[in-house]
Amino acid sequence: MTKQQANWSPYDNNGGTCVAIAGTDYCVIAADTRMSSGYNILTRDYSKIIQLVDTSVLASSGFQADVRALQKVLAAKHLQYQYQHNKQMSCPAMAQLLSNTLYYKRFFPYYAFNVLGGLDREGKGCVFTYDAVGSYERVGYSSQGSGSTLITPFLDNQLKSPGPLLLPARDAVTPLSESEAIDLVKTCFASATERDIYTGDKLEILILNASGTRVEYMELRKD
């Protein structure tokens, strides 16, 4: 008597890729705007990025219905925090909140691959990267989604320290300026679009710095 397998799945993957890079006084968060299902494109103009606080921006790829539900929960929790503490949440605080929210649904997870970017209390850029059930880490840069396997090796090569075997251990290459980081992100996505069928259409870039938030768009291949 073989175990009956489910013939319906509650999840679907809408594809897409997200990237975030942290700098000394800025943070760049980017995601493509294609939403797909199987071999079909559902829409070419869907934003995967949401600005939860002035200093915290969440980009998520995966199942967009779960992503939307997650965004609503976080927005509601943030509102409660503001009433209780009379101030906005800092980025590290939001990072912890997101981790807890994801782990609450450990046994029926949010199918969302998240990257949280922003500025910490000192004004330095921070990026937090997550898995689907809330394990997180603060990093200098991160990529999630269908194109992440193509982008991460390139970012490692450009941003990470040269050779781990070298002694004394050298720090990462010269710190990037904001415009260099944006150029890097655009190159990453143009390249990922060439080889990943789920990434393309348009690129949305959010840049956070001391003077506020800025949005930039770039066209990507539509095939």
């Binding site: 071999y39 655009k186 190159t187 143009a190 080889r195 069928i197």
Partner: protein, 307 residues
């Protein structure tokens, strides 16, 4: 009931000895490679003076683009060409050497155990179109006449039928011979259709939508090429399994035109001006040279060999 099945004589033809083992592997959790409608858009249409074939140029391995500009329109005879979807679309292996990475062109992530099954399938595939093209040539020598499209059709369909669908080829065959222009579709199990316009592959619905709206009998060459380009573009932009460029082949009585990359609607969107440097990251820590064999020097002028 089981005893009855065992007493029946063996059906002959294919041997399914590995099926039980495959089922066992699937039960253990191994994902079987399924034969989906493959990542491609191929089309054909009949116009006033002949046949026009069209294809996209993307070859995918799962969600990754393996080749951004492969050739899917294959030569069968001077007056007959064939578009292939699936592993048949791997021209590089059909015309040149075949290698392992081209095995999974039909869009599946193939676990190692299945590669043996697959490679048999793929080698058959590669030999298949090449084989039929060679058979047609021999037939031309034998009969002293130009090949007919129905001949190619019969050879292809009987081969596919004898492999019971295991040779995964979905083809659009077109050409012009003494009896006129012909266009056929051939399915992996060996069935065929004769049509005035046809589409195959995962982008077939997108392309067919264009054909059904705009096709009419007696198109001119330029109108036909424009319509085929539109249909392929529809597949390229609306189907994720198809992409990159448009290839066209126009066949008329006594003449053929292979328009490789007739349209390039997908240029790269961003190239950084400053470029990127990739410094040598792996440092040499230690060098040690161990000679495996002594160097022997041969001095000329030794004793001459004895008779």
């Amino acid at each position: 009931m089981i005893r009855e099945a065992m007493e029946m004589p063996p059906k002959g033809g294919f041997s399914f000895d590995l099926c039980k083992r495959n089922d066992m592997l699937v039960k253990k959790g191994l994902k079987e490679p399924s034969f989906l409608k493959t990542g491609t858009t191929i089309v054909g249409l009949i116009f006033k003076d002949g046949v026009i074939l069209g294809a996209d140029t993307r070859a995918t391995e799962g969600p990754i683009v393996a080749d951004k500009n492969c050739e899917k329109i294959h030569y069968m005879a001077p007056n007959i060409y064939c578009c292939g979807a699936g592993t048949a679309a791997d021209t590089e292996a059909v015309t040149g050497t075949h290698n392992f990475c081209s095995l999974s062109r039909c869009n599946q992530h193939v676990p190692f155990y299945f590669i043996c099954l697959f490679s048999a399938n793929f080698i058959l595939q590669w030999l298949f179109l090449d084989m039929v093209s060679s058979q047609l040539k021999l037939h031309r020598y034998h009969t002293g006449r130009e090949s007919r499209v129905v001949t190619a059709l019969s050879l292809l369909k009987s081969h596919l039928f004898s492999y019971q669908g295991y040779v995964s080829a979905a083809l659009v065959l077109g050409g012009v011979d003494v009896t006129g222009p012909h266009l056929h579709t051939i399915y992996p199990h060996g069935s065929t259709d004769t049509l005035p316009f046809a589409t195959m592959g995962s982008g077939s619905l997108a392309a067919m939508a264009v054909f059904e709206s705009k096709y009419r009998e007696g198109l001119t060459r330029d109108e036909g090429v424009k319509l085929v380009s539109e249909a392929i573009c529809s597949g390229i932009f609306n189907d994720l399994g198809s992409g990159s460029n448009v290839d066209i082949c126009v066949i008329t009585q006594g003449e053929k035109e292979y328009l490789r990359n007739h349209m390039l609607p997908n240029p790269r969107t961003y190239i950084s001006e400053k470029g990127y440097s990739f410094s040598k990251k792996t440092e040499v820590l230690r060098t040690k040279i161990t000679p495996l064999r002594e160097m022997v020097e041969v001095i000329e002028g030794g004793d001459a060999m004895e008779e």
